[in-house]
């Protein structure tokens, strides 16, 4: 680790006295970060152990062997323990936070300012208080993870996490994998986490720190990066798992699903899209106000931030905004205000690395939009030149996905109530709708959106940061991981 040109993208406390799996001759492979910054020198090379089928099985067994130590700790104590480590990422001057902020830009391809924003936002959910809150909010009685507790309708119930959870996370948003690891450990499940290539730093640092704080707990977890796909090692781990959590494209989910035993449970966080809805009550002079202090920021500014965070790669990141007609400001005015805000944010929260494919798509989109503007199709275009932010005012109400990196379409809609029909074609992929300015219609509109599949409706400002106890894609984050055991009346009492 002294070598700044490398980052060891694994942490396996259970491999006690050496750097690799016991008894196996495991090679170390190298890969460049997916969004490497500039020159070869700027980004460290990621190293990872080349697991084979045998060492993967051995690792799985080793993690399962530490399950009892997790089981012995009360859930609330686990929450405090994990939270004490997680909180360090928030504390200025803590070496863990410093190290994270040093490594994130070059390994995740994000700007230093973005690294701070993402770490502050993600780690806010890794504190003892938030984790305690998650346990209570999601499970009601977290003690059910420790012992049989009285059931709601008599008898006793107890909750168990899986014997082994294998978590395959995406690399798009740094920190998501730590959240996944914490969720698994909170339900007392040994976890093998394979983070995505853009998200290796935080889980490795987290688990290393946990291993110093509580080695017996850390030994039930492992973080190992490898390039995903149907390898012997990955297949073996999927066979060993009782529960698999996967984040990724529909194709990734499909691939993983096809390799599971019928008895293995799958929690899939597949591709989702989010969008914003601005009702006429939020349009007008209020769009221009400063929004300092306690006041909620005006909608265009809040939306610019929601689009810019994670460089729009989060499942919560809005792809488009529907703006109601008939307010004091027009949807086109809103688009212009949004463009101004994105331009300002480009300085405060600069974009990260845009890969050549993404840049090419953006050029196609901008050039095509310029032509369509010239053709008098009622469109307008604002963009940041070599900065990727791009706003398209597009009168066509059909939903279109963004090509990401802060590219957002502004679409007029006559009435907010028309939105659900417009979203019908992508209903199965919907997640967050960031909504404002609906006034008294809010309840009705929320009802319609939720009915077609939207699982989260939030003020725009809060869109990037769902609380830890949200129903993630429609289910409780912890309750998705556990199984219940019932003891009916007459056996124990």
């Amino acid at each position: 680790m002294a070598d700044a040109r490398h980052f060891d993208a694994w942490c396996v406390p259970a491999w006690t006295d050496r750097a690799g799996p016991e008894g196996a001759e495991t090679g170390i492979a190298e890969v460049r970060p997916r969004r490497a910054t500039g020159s070869e020198a700027a980004s460290p090379v990621l190293r990872y152990p080349e697991l084979d089928e045998g060492s993967a099985r051995e690792l799985a067994h080793r993690l399962v062997a530490h399950r009892d130590r997790l089981a012995d700790l009360p859930a609330s104590e686990l929450a405090h323990l994990l939270g004490r480590v997680g909180r360090r990422f928030l504390e200025p001057g803590d070496p863990l936070r410093d190290r994270a902020l040093q490594l994130l830009p070059s390994t995740a391809g994000i700007s230093p300012a973005m690294a701070r924003a993402v770490l502050d936002g993600m780690a806010a959910d890794w504190t003892p208080e938030r984790l305690e809150g998650l346990l209570r909010a999601d499970l009601g009685r977290p003690e059910a993870l420790d012992a049989f507790v009285p059931g709601a309708a008599g008898g006793r119930v107890r909750a168990f996490g899986p014997r082994l959870g294998v978590h395959l996370s995406a690399g798009t948003v740094p920190g998501v994998s730590v959240t996944s690891l914490i969720r698994g450990l909170l339900v007392k499940s040994p976890v093998l986490l394979k983070p995505g290539r853009g998200d290796v730093v935080l889980p490795v640092l987290f688990l290393r720190a946990l291993a110093r704080e509580a080695p017996e707990v850390a030994a039930a977890a492992a973080v190992v990066y490898w390039p995903g796909g149907a390898t012997d090692a990955e297949d073996e781990l999927l066979r060993q798992a009782d529960l698999v959590v996967v984040y990724g494209s529909d194709a990734t989910v499909e691939s993983v699903r096809s390799r599971l035993r019928p008895t293995t449970r799958l929690v899939a966080y597949r591709h989702r899209v989010s969008l914003a809805l601005v009702g006429r009550e939020a349009l007008g002079p209020e769009m221009e106000r400063a929004g300092d202090g306690d006041a909620r920021p005006p909608a265009p500014r809040a939306l610019a931030r929601a689009v810019a965070l994670f460089d729009q790669r989060g499942c919560v990141s809005p792809h488009a905004v529907y703006v109601e007609e008939g307010g004091d400001a027009t949807p086109r005015d809103f688009a212009e205000a949004l463009a101004r805000s994105l331009e300002a944010l480009d300085r405060e929260l600069p974009s990260g690395v845009v890969d050549p494919e993404e840049a090419s798509r953006l050029q196609q989109l901008r050039g095509t939009t310029e032509l369509r503007v010239a053709a008098g199709e009622g469109r307008e275009l604002w963009h940041g030149g070599q900065s990727p932010w791009t706003v398209v005012y597009d009168p066509d109400p059909a939903f279109e996905a963004s090509c990401l990196n802060r590219m957002v379409r502004v679409k007029p809609v006559g009435h907010a109530e028309e939105l659900p029909d417009l979203l019908e074609p992508v209903a199965r992929h919907l997640q967050t709708v960031a909504a404002e300015g609906l006034g008294e219609r809010a309840e009705a509109v929320c009802g319609m959106l939720a009915r077609i599949g939207v699982s989260r409706i939030t003020p725009i400002e809060a869109a990037p940061w769902p609380p830890p106890w949200w129903h993630h894609d429609g289910a409780g984050a912890l309750s998705a991981l556990i199984r219940w055991a019932d003891v009916e009346p007459g056996v124990m009492d």
Partner: protein, 378 residues
């Protein structure tokens, strides 16, 4: 800028420039066109398109580029290929003789439209590079086409081009039905005849069709040794269709099954949005041509290709990867400067295509555009 007298109606201007281009194309590909001569023609084509295509004019003017301000063809604003899916670039008052459609790579996806006012220009630009790349020995070979005939699919620019070749050779047969696919028995019989008669053939088709043809041969356990002198033009290997093979695997397969060595298989790189094509100079410079995956493409003198940094649209340093932008004089009737989504690198006297940027890789917990569009339109 107007000394050529292009101001006037679009059709008259088109005819004037077309005649000059036909003379140029007629010289063939061997005679180089120096940069100044290319630049002069290119800017005249730009001036013509600027004048007669109001959408393009406004697009260019918004970028501050007009025939008065552009002092070199590299300054001419390029139209992205995606734009062909929404607009038909080209002079307003010219009627289209044919509208070619891009192949939809995913179900329900919007297809690009290239309106071509004059097929003669297409024929004239397509044939010389084809001849140079496939028939440097001036052979006259019957064409065995693994594409549907232009009569069956009038909106396919590839079928139209193969049609020109068949006309030129004076003999050719079509073996792909647009709905049912390859007519296997007929094609078997045709190749048997060639084999028995010792008469070499020119096979032309998409990589996709050749993959299916190899499958059909394998099912029947059939192999051919096509007579010496036979050759293959293969195209479309970069499209994101199912069941694609690596190029060297495809060529090895064709070599084994048809007896045509990889050194006599030529890849054509073309796109509906351009009337000119690019070929690997395999037959013309066999000694210089490396393994199939290392080959490169060259265009005719009336096309210039640049490799651009996708972030800035400025040329990359020599030897670096970028996206390909073409300036094709044959596109007189639509738009000459076209920005593609194809990745490439400049080599020798041409470029190597490294793949297409469309069909993106998975994007973690946010959705890849293509995938979502497919969902949305499926």
């Amino acid at each position: 800028m107007r000394e050529t007298g292009l101001a006037g109606d679009a059709a008259a201007g088109f005819r004037l420039l077309k005649e000059r281009l036909l003379r140029l194309f007629d010289r063939g590909v061997a005679e180089p066109l120096d940069d100044d001569a290319f630049d002069e023609l290119a800017r005249e084509v730009f001036a013509y398109q600027f004048e007669h295509d109001p959408v393009y004019r406004s697009f260019c003017a918004n970028r501050g580029r007009t025939p008065a301000t552009v002092d070199h063809w590299t300054g001419v604003p390029a139209v992205p290929t995606t734009a062909f899916k929404h607009l038909r670039p080209g002079p307003d008052d010219l009627d289209a003789e044919r509208v070619f459609l891009t192949s939809g790579t995913s179900r329900g996806a919007r297809r690009g439209e290239h309106a071509v006012p004059d097929l003669e220009l297409y024929r004239a630009s397509a044939l010389p590079p084809f001849r140079a790349a496939l028939l440097p020995d001036r052979a006259r070979l019957p064409v065995v086409a693994l594409v549907p005939s232009p009569g069956d699919v009038p909106d396919s620019s590839l079928s139209a081009m193969v049609g020109f070749v068949v006309d030129e050779m004076g003999a050719g047969e079509w073996f792909v039905d647009p709905d049912a696919g390859i007519r296997v028995e007929e094609l078997l019989a045709r190749l048997e005849r060639a084999e028995e008669a010792g008469e070499p053939v020119l096979l032309v088709g998409t990589a996709f069709a050749f993959v299916h043809w190899m499958d059909a041969l394998d099912e029947r356990d059939r192999r051919f040794r096509l007579p010496e002198g036979s050759r293959i033009m293969e195209t479309g290997g970069f499209k994101g269709r199912s069941r694609t093979l690596e190029k060297d695997e495809l060529y090895r397969g064709l070599e084994e099954r048809l007896g045509v060595p990889a050194a006599r298989i030529v890849n054509e790189y073309g796109m509906t949005e351009l009337l000119s094509q690019f070929y690997e100079p395999v037959l013309t410079r066999p000694e210089a041509m490396p393994a199939p995956t290392e080959r490169w493409h060259v265009g005719p003198p009336w096309v210039r290709t640049r490799v651009l940094d996708p972030r800035t649209l400025e040329p990359v340093d020599p030897g670096h990867e970028g996206i390909l932008a073409h300036f094709d004089l044959a596109n007189l009737g639509s738009v000459a400067a076209v920005l593609t989504e194809d990745r490439g690198v400049e080599v020798e006297d041409g470029f190597r295509v490294l793949g297409r940027t469309r069909g993106s890789e998975p994007r973690g917990c946010s959705m890849a555009m293509d995938e979502l569009l497919e969902v949305a339109r499926g």
